[in-house]
């Protein structure tokens, strides 16, 4: 059941998107998010949609996989849609109804924004291995080291957290099965009862996570880990012409959206 959670997973591939430098992709995501939040009306949203679809197509990631990633957020999406649908003033679709044309449009656009936001950021983790991601982040944030911010340690924590997501979901599944085998019920009862029912899952999970962290630390130290000083990397990040093109396209895309916005589109 929990195996369907694709959050943080990496799908290896050899597409141009996969081969882009992770730093390029990180910068792209920022440009993308800025563009997304500047999108104003049908035309600018349309441009973002086209670009998003283009990226998904270029990465060969199945749309179905992206949709699966949206599953955990279905509540947020539906809530946003409903709130905007019912609480936007304007011309009612059917006289006497609370739903207005403006509300409908707003709901559609905002839902589209959420979906594209998720899709865009997921595309990042789907096409970039966590090691490449954290390496890219670490290099981009390196200047912050001067401000005594532990950039390497944070990057290390992130990459390890990502590595353990599938392992932890597997473990959670096992714990749930074991407690269900003793009659634990996670599906019935009031909200309070269901929250209490989570204790038999959370406590073992926490305990095992602490033990895991301890063992990992010992294993890492046994392999001579001593922080970021003097560390080299087997896989070196190198910019290629495609990165320059991607960044130019990204900048052009953002410019396009802002221009459309200026024209009220």
């Amino acid at each position: 059941m929990l195996k369907d959670v694709t959050l943080g997973q990496f799908f290896p591939g050899d597409t141009v998107v996969h081969r882009l430098d992770p730093r390029t992709k990180l910068i792209w995501v920022i440009l993308y998010i800025v563009a997304l939040f500047n999108a104003y009306d049908w035309w600018s949203y349309g441009l973002v949609l086209v670009v998003t679809a283009g990226c998904i197509w270029a990465s060969h990631i199945k749309p179905k996989t992206i949709l699966q990633g949206l599953k955990p957020l279905i509540i947020v999406i539906v809530l946003t849609a409903l709130l905007n649908l019912f609480y936007t003033g304007g011309t009612p679709i059917v006289p006497g109804w609370a739903i207005t044309w403006e509300g409908l449009k707003k709901a559609v656009l905002l839902v589209a924004r959420i979906i594209m936001l998720i899709a865009g950021t997921f595309l990042l983790t789907y096409t970039t291995s966590p090691i490449a991601l954290t390496d890219g982040l670490e290099i981009l944030l390196n200047p912050l080291k001067k401000l005594k911010i532990p950039v390497h340690e944070m990057a290390m924590m992130m990459s390890m957290a990502l590595r353990f997501i599938p392992t932890l979901t597997e473990e959670t599944d096992k714990i749930m099965s074991a407690q269900k085998a003793r009659g634990a019920d996670f599906e019935t009862g009031s909200l309070m009862q269901r929250a209490k029912a989570l204790l038999p899952i959370l406590v073992p999970l926490f305990v095992s996570s602490f033990r895991r962290a301890d063992e990992l630390a010992v294993a890492m130290e046994s392999r001579c880990y001593h922080g970021g000083e003097g560390r080299t990397r087997m896989k070196q990040l190198r910019y290629a012409p495609r990165d320059a093109w991607a960044l130019i396209l990204g900048a052009a895309f953002l410019a396009g959206v802002i221009v459309l916005k200026k024209f009220g589109l």
């Binding site: 966590p130 597997e170 895991r212 063992e215 392999r223 001593h226 080299t232």
Partner: protein
């Protein structure tokens, strides 16, 4: 052959404990040998293993790795480069999301040149038979495969000793065979010293030397044939002997004259067949 690890009167008490876990161990491990350390749970064998690469340092006594005192903090990295450790839980050793990235972890920590890291990673993966899996995600591998990746991660440091703390405890029989075959090969073909902590008797048959621990001390030390021959001692320690040894022991009590050194199934059968043929 010189001793790559020398342990002199090692005492160790865990912080907060009243009793000593290790009560004065003297041990020398010869370079290039395959040593198995046996003992029931609580005998101190894991505690001993953790002293090999300075995860723990002695409360009293000395541990010398290639002449270096493990208690000296300046020696820490050098000691850990010389003695690599593989642990029991396959998952809790793998740090990266892709097999080859994990194997590269140690040389990266040591500041090795990228091209050299690549060479070592490929060589290490080939040595453990996991080269085809180099781009795979570790969580999809079997237990035995994960442990082999962990071993490769240690080999990439080019250590002279690999200590394995109950590496097969969480594996199925196939995984167990994979791991033991791999480390035996590393010892015999590459001359890497292997120290295997275990309580599976069948894994020790191919070792050069068995050390049996009990209650923080060493109670038996010799070749597998010598150690297993002392069936009473093994049982007293809550350990078993291989079925071959038990069979030979019991048959000898019934009047046979079988060598207790016939540890493998084939040797044992041949010895019995020979005895019966002589009638």
């Amino acid at each position: 052959m010189s001793a790559i690890i020398k342990i002199e009167d090692l005492h160790y008490t865990y912080p907060g404990d009243e009793a000593e876990t290790l009560k004065g161990i003297d041990l020398e491990i010869e370079e290039g040998s395959f040593v198995a350390v046996l003992g029931h749970n609580g005998s101190g064998k894991s505690t001993l293993a953790k002293h090999f690469n300075a995860i723990l340092t002695p409360t009293e006594g000395k541990v010398l790795v290639d002449g270096m005192d493990t208690a000296d903090e300046n020696n820490l990295l050098a000691v850990r480069r010389t003695v690599g450790m593989v642990f029991q839980n396959p998952d809790n050793q793998i740090v990266a999301n892709v097999v080859e990235d994990d194997v590269a972890f140690a040389p990266e920590n040591l500041g090795v040149e990228p091209a050299e890291i690549r060479r070592r990673v490929d060589a290490a993966l080939k040595q453990v038979g996991m080269y085809e899996y180099r781009s795979h995600a570790p969580h999809l591998l079997s237990g035995g495969q994960k442990q082999r990746v962990a071993i490769a991660g240690v080999i990439a440091m080019e250590p002279r000793v690999i200590a394995l703390d109950e590496p097969t405890a969480m594996l199925d029989p196939q995984g167990r065979t994979e791991v033991i075959t791999t480390v035996t090969g590393l010892c015999r073909d590459k001359g890497i010293t292997i120290v295997l902590i275990t309580h599976h008797m069948s894994e020790c048959i191919g070792a050069d030397r068995l050390v049996v621990m009990s209650n923080g001390g060493i109670v038996s030390d010799g070749t597998p044939a010598e150690v297993f021959a002392n069936v009473e001692l093994m049982e007293r320690e809550g350990l078993t002997v291989p079925a071959t040894t038990r069979l030979e022991y019991e048959l000898n009590r019934a009047g046979f004259d079988l060598p207790l050194s016939a540890l493998t199934v084939d040797d044992c059968a041949a010895a019995i067949a020979a005895q019966l043929g002589k009638q």
